[in-house]
């Protein structure tokens, strides 16, 4: 589109023809108020707040529906416009309950802000307001009709944004009301009800307090919280969630989650888990004291006793039965720094490659296939912007909701061409330009077929005609962003990478740092950065063995054969996940670090109460390789970060701490401090010092102390800019060394977690909100039109 010149409030502006006046003004720093306008959603022109005066037009025009034109002269603020806006506000406030002192939105309300600006405080109606009782539509969505200004943002957000269409409008005129999709007569409580994805996007979009969240309402005032932006723990998309935190007697608790400033990789978006499933952190069952098995029972003991016992026993066993008799299991939910530290602990302190974690995607094969071409790792931003995308396997709607949101938005607003190949009838097919149904086990054959092997058509898909057309359509695309579900593994990945040499790839995984755990080498056969065990730099650095260790399954086999003397499990619940017989570990000394007494922790000899991702700082890497900082939001007395616990265990093991964590000129005495070092304050301070050519003084518990080493040794991470991280930005990295050796015939051991929108592994049962929503959804009328 060619640029046009126009004048707004005396300022000469230029914008591409076709730009909406409201957007053009926003870009120039001229804010035009609006309730119904919401970027990316369809236009309404219903609230009439964005009226402006355009010269030579008879009436005030709505800036949200006017496109800029050459020579247009616009006035956005004058007495006439102010009066029009004021009158509209007066009309709204006439029926508004004005219960701002108790309203959740008080202080964060667009109606308040505009009333403040235009001074529509006088009321001249003597008649009663139209009142309706509030309604609970679901455990997370409440509706207060009197506060609603009918801007229809929620309706559009649900329909256009989420593709759920659970909200609509009933009645007309002043009786108009937003209504959910399950009418009263079909709902168990005889009130209208929501059968939907429970994402809370309607609440987020609501400019007033008409839609409020069941987990937050009437709990606090927005100005009484600290707002800490961090990364959601529940899936591999890496959404920023801003946690509202309030001080309580035993630390500080999270009161709400949202995406307040829309500044994250997720922009407007958060799903149910990102918004509400922080509540596991406040669960009463959280462990707050170390436990030791005494007389067959786990009993609370002091930190000193537990650490000393665990460290010395581990040392004894290592010395008596050798390092190869000890296993370590890391986690998808630990930070990069913690996972790195843990594998270093295994390799350098214990001296074994017996380290693994619950793998949810085959990142090793992808890294190997893309070796030397780091530009072919797709970022989450590619999904947002690319003109052509192919999704093979997976169900982003439930597994990676942000990916699904970006795909939908890209198709809706930028006419992206989306291709779907899947064995299931996933919801994203509704946005697809073309979709093909694959055989359940046909992904490999499909990759071969795409590569040109026509003999595999029948094995790939029951509909070979559709398959042929699908391949033709893909071949017509110059380049694609190819997103792979975790059904796609091993040689299939490699085949696809070869078939589409100009395309970028991403692999969906299940938790916040699944990718980070793989990048950090929490696996028995690869080192950080997918380098083969025995890589030169690490042999120097770690003095670790040069042969691969036991993987997770082999560790339990070894335990059963009484060959595993000790197992150190950090932030993971393999006993439940892999359905391990408890008797397997009867002869293994088991140390577990976790939030709760999980099935694995119940079998332990020593249990350390750990803090969760929302209570620590560090960095995480999402499925796409976008690295972000997590910040300490909440605090729970009686817990310590996994980073600190690993360091302290190594100390009690008798290892030289400075060799494990190079914390510069810090003193061993710094081990005295615990909580402060994780707060992120030290991180920020050290960056400032470094930027000013001063030596930072780090504590051994400061994750940034190890980030130096990660940046030095892990390919891709060397490109990270710390100031970018600290600014809350995401940075895309491609951890692929140029000289990476192809790993052949490797057992990928991927075990998808099959989480739904309302589950998150072992955390599910500790989140009352997730439990409530699951109950709610299961009671809803089956197959109601909204959810899949």
């Amino acid at each position: 589109m060619p640029d046009v010149n126009f004048i707004v409030d005396g300022q000469k502006l230029t914008a591409p023809a076709g730009t909406l006046l409201i957007d053009a003004c926003k870009s120039a720093g001229i804010e035009i108020p609006a309730f119904c306008y919401y970027p990316g959603l369809s236009l309404q022109a219903a609230c009439r707040m964005c009226v402006v005066r355009i010269e030579k037009q008879p009436k005030l025009a709505t800036a949200c529906t006017t496109t800029v034109a050459e020579g247009m002269v616009v006035h956005t603020e004058n007495p006439e416009i102010a009066q029009a806006r004021k009158a509209t506000l007066q009309l709204l406030l006439g029926n508004h309950p004005l219960d701002c002192p108790v309203c959740d939105a008080g202080g964060e309300c667009e109606l308040q802000d505009m009333t403040f600006k235009y001074g529509a405080a006088d009321s001249f109606y003597a008649e009663p307001k139209n009142h309706r009782e509030e309604q609970k539509w679901s455990p997370v969505v409440y509706f207060d009709r009197p506060r609603c200004i009918l801007c229809y943002r929620c309706v559009r957000m649900c329909g256009e944004g989420m593709d759920v269409f659970a909200l609509g409008i009933q009645n007309r005129g002043s009786s108009s009301v937003i209504a959910p999709n399950v009418p009263a007569q079909l709902s168990p409580e005889n009130i209208p009800n929501l059968d939907c994805e429970q994402c809370g996007m309607c609440i987020d979009a609501c400019p007033v307090g008409a839609l409020t969240s069941g987990t937050y309402r009437y709990k606090t005032r927005p100005w009484e919280m600290n707002h800490v932006a961090t990364v959601c723990t529940h899936c591999g998309d890496g959404c920023k969630t801003t946690l509202g935190v309030r001080s309580v007697a035993n630390g500080s608790e999270i009161v709400r989650g949202d995406n307040r400033d829309k500044s994250g990789i997720n922009g407007d978006f958060l799903c149910n888990k990102g918004r509400y499933a922080f509540d596991f952190a406040n669960n009463i069952e959280r462990l707050t004291s170390p436990l030791m098995r005494k007389d067959g029972k786990l009993k609370p003991v002091s930190w000193e006793e537990a650490l000393t016992f665990a460290g010395t026993r581990l040392r004894e066993l290592r010395d008596q039965r050798g390092p190869q008799s000890i296993g370590v299991i890391g986690s998808n939910r630990l930070t990069n720094e913690e996972n790195y530290l843990l594998q270093k602990f295994a390799r350098s302190v214990i001296g074994t490659n017996n380290i693994d974690h619950h793998r949810t995607a085959d990142f090793v094969t992808l890294a190997a296939a893309l070796r030397g071409s780091s530009k072919r790792f797709a970022s989450q931003h590619c999904v947002e912007k690319a003109p052509a995308l192919l999704v093979i396997g997976g169900d982003p709607t439930t597994q990676a909701p942000l990916t699904a949101w970006n795909l939908r938005t890209n198709v809706r607003n930028k006419n992206a061409r989306l291709y779907i190949a899947n064995h299931a009838d996933i919801k994203l097919r509704r946005q697809a330009k073309a979709a093909v149904t694959l055989d359940f086990a046909g992904y490999g054959a499909f990759a071969d077929y795409l590569a040109g092997d026509d003999s595999t058509a029948n094995a790939a898909s029951p509909d070979t005609d559709a398959l042929a057309k699908f391949r033709d359509a893909l071949r017509a695309e110059e380049k694609l962003i190819i997103v792979l579900g975790n059904e796609v593994r091993g040689s299939t990945i490699a085949r696809l990478v070869d078939t589409f040499p100009t395309s970028k790839f991403a692999l969906l995984s299940d938790y916040v740092n699944s990718r980070g755990a793989a990048d950090m080498g929490v696996m028995p056969d690869v080192l950080p950065g997918y380098q083969l065990v025995g890589a030169h730099a690490f042999v120097e650095e770690y003095k670790s063995p040069e042969t691969p260790g036991l993987n997770l399954v082999e560790m339990f086999d070894a335990a059963l054969a009484r060959e595993l003397a000790a197992l150190y499990v950090v932030g993971s619940n393999p006993v439940a996940r892999y359905n391990v017989d408890p008797a397997t570990l009867a002869n293994t000394f088991l140390i577990v670090q976790d939030l709760f007494l999980t099935e694995t922790a119940l079998l332990a000899d020593v249990v350390f109460p750990a803090s969760n991702l929302y209570e620590k700082s560090g960095s995480v890497t999402n499925s796409y390789g976008d690295v972000q900082l997590v910040s300490k939001a909440a605090d729970k007395s009686g817990t310590r970060s996994d980073f600190e616990l690993i360091v302290r265990l190594a100390d009690k093991f008798g290892h030289e701490i400075k060799q494990l964590v190079p914390f510069g000129k810090g003193l061993r005495a710094d081990m005295g401090q615990t909580r402060g070092a994780q707060s992120g304050e030290a991180d920020r301070h050290s960056v400032w010092l470094t930027a000013n050519n001063l030596e930072p003084k780090l504590s051994p518990f400061d994750p940034f102390a190890i980030l130096d080493e990660i940046q030095r040794l892990v390919p891709g991470y060397d490109k990270l800019l710390r100031l970018q991280l600290l600014s809350g930005n995401d940075q895309h990295i491609a951890p692929s060394a140029g000289d990476l050796v192809q790993i052949a015939n490797r057992n990928d051991l991927v075990l998808p977690s099959h989480d739904t929108l309302f589950t998150s592994g072992s955390l599910t049962r500790f989140s009352p909100q997730l439990q409530d929503v699951q109950r709610h959804q299961s009671r809803e009328v089956a197959d109601h039109l909204a959810a899949d």
Partner: protein, 445 residues
């Protein structure tokens, strides 16, 4: 059922077949029926549009947009199908002209629809009837079926190879708002009857996204007559820039209420005093609402004005839909204002804030005022509300509610003040009786 009325000053063009049983296709054909469409078939789109332009016909729905020009806006080439849409959602209080056309001469609407279709290159037309006119649906549907049976509709109409035209009828669900053209399209597509953002205008993106001509039923019904008599001849019947005749529904306190066809520019005073027989029972005229309830009121001394779009605009009101409501001296303007706003409050679709909330507060305030609970400030508030609705709403419904209200307050302010002082007799609102299905028509559901 209103009886057919007649007056020597009438110029019968559209109404010439009224009362002749022309709903019967044979009787319609016997009175030059379906001749115009065959002329249109022979002479082609350019001729049709030129004739329509020459006729000076302006939209009879109320806005008065030149019909020939509207038809010429439709792009010749279109990837999507084009449509003709007949707006028979006549819902403005005081307006009952389309009703008599559907009742007495449905084939004129069908023939007009086909002519519009030929003019713009559409193969399909829709006749959208007001929901409350459901009892007319059988008449219209029978007429459509008869036209199909004769081969006038369907494939190869009038035996002309490759020329197809279909007509579908549809009724609304009872919403004044869908008289607005884009809301009507939403309704016809099966959605909530709320208006669309313009531009794009229907001529470019209309029904189902296709270029669409949407005209009032009377406008469409005039088309066959115009083609038969010639554009210039039709234009000459009316006044300057206001071609032809139109149907005026004169109601209220007159001796002979009814629908009369008068030339454009005819005197409003004569329409009331001669054509409709003057004020009932020898009473004095108080006010006239000249073009349906949305038009600003005229006082008794303001009725020396010609009934066409331009002269009425000059007089500070509108010709509107041609529904002239005559009020005698006994009418309480307070009550009349309340009755008017009750209608608009009930019919506001609720889409935009000024109309949804404004009509509601106007109704609430006027209700209390009428019940005797008013005060002086209320009069100012009513004016303030109406002034702040004017020109601020999404569609013209907000203006339609605000304009008459402002008219009442400005021209009869003293009456509001007297009402407060108790000088006027307060009489309770007369309950409006719902109009039942007239059994004289014999058109059962």
């Amino acid at each position: 059922m209103p009886k057919l009325v007649s007056h020597p000053d009438e110029v019968k063009v559209i109404s010439r077949r009224f009362g002749t049983g022309a709903a019967d296709i044979e009787k319609y054909i016997a009175q030059d029926g379906y001749k115009a469409v065959q002329m249109a078939l022979e002479n082609g789109p350019a001729w049709i549009i030129d004739t329509m332009k020459a006729s000076g016909l302006r939209g009879r729905g109320g806005a008065g947009f030149p019909t020939g020009m509207k038809w010429s806006f439709v792009p010749k080439e279109s990837a999507k199908p084009k449509y003709v849409l007949v707006n028979g959602d006549e819902s403005e209080p005081g307006t009952c002209k389309d009703h008599v056309i559907f009742l007495h001469d449905p084939h004129a609407v069908i023939e007009g629809t086909m002519i519009a279709g030929l003019a713009i290159g559409a193969k399909m037309g829709f006749i959208y009837l007001r929901g409350e006119y459901r009892y007319l649906l059988n008449i219209v549907e029978k007429a459509v079926a008869d036209a199909y049976a004769k081969g006038f509709l369907g494939k190869n109409i009038f035996g002309k190879e490759g020329v197809d035209f279909d007509i579908v009828t549809q009724t609304g669900a009872g919403a004044y708002e869908v008289g607005e053209e884009s809301a009507l399209m939403e309704s016809l597509e099966g959605k909530r009857g709320v208006p669309r953002i313009k531009p794009p205008f229907p001529a470019v993106v209309g029904l189902y996204g296709g270029p669409t001509v949407i005209n009032n039923a009377e406008t469409i019904a005039a088309a066959p007559h115009i083609l038969l008599m010639g554009g210039e001849a039709y234009a000459k019947l009316g006044s300057e820039r206001n071609g032809g005749t139109r149907l005026f529904g004169i109601s209220g306190h007159v001796e002979r209420p009814g629908v009369y066809e008068l030339p454009m520019g005819y005197s409003l005073r004569k329409a009331i005093y001669d054509v409709a027989g003057g004020i009932k029972d020898g009473k004095q005229l108080k006010a006239v609402v000249p073009g349906g309830s949305s038009c600003p009121v005229l006082k008794a001394d303001e009725i020396d004005v010609g009934l066409d779009f331009d002269q009425m605009a000059k007089a500070g009101t509108m010709l509107g839909s041609g529904g002239i409501v005559v009020l005698d001296e006994t009418v309480s303007i307070v009550e009349f204002a309340l009755r008017t706003i009750r209608f608009y409050q009930h019919e506001s679709c609720g889409w935009c804030i000024p109309c949804r909330e404004g009509t509601d507060w106007l109704k609430k305030t006027l209700t209390r005022f009428h019940a005797g609970g008013g005060n002086k400030k209320d009069i100012d508030n009513i004016q303030y509300l109406a002034e702040n609705m004017m020109g601020r709403t999404f569609c013209p419904l907000g203006d339609a509610a605000a304009m008459p209200t402002l008219g009442f307050i400005k021209k009869f302010r003293s009456e509001f003040e007297e009402y407060l002082e108790g000088k006027r007799v307060d009489h309770p609102l007369i309950q409006i009786q719902p109009i039942g299905e007239p059994d004289t028509i014999g058109a059962a559901h």
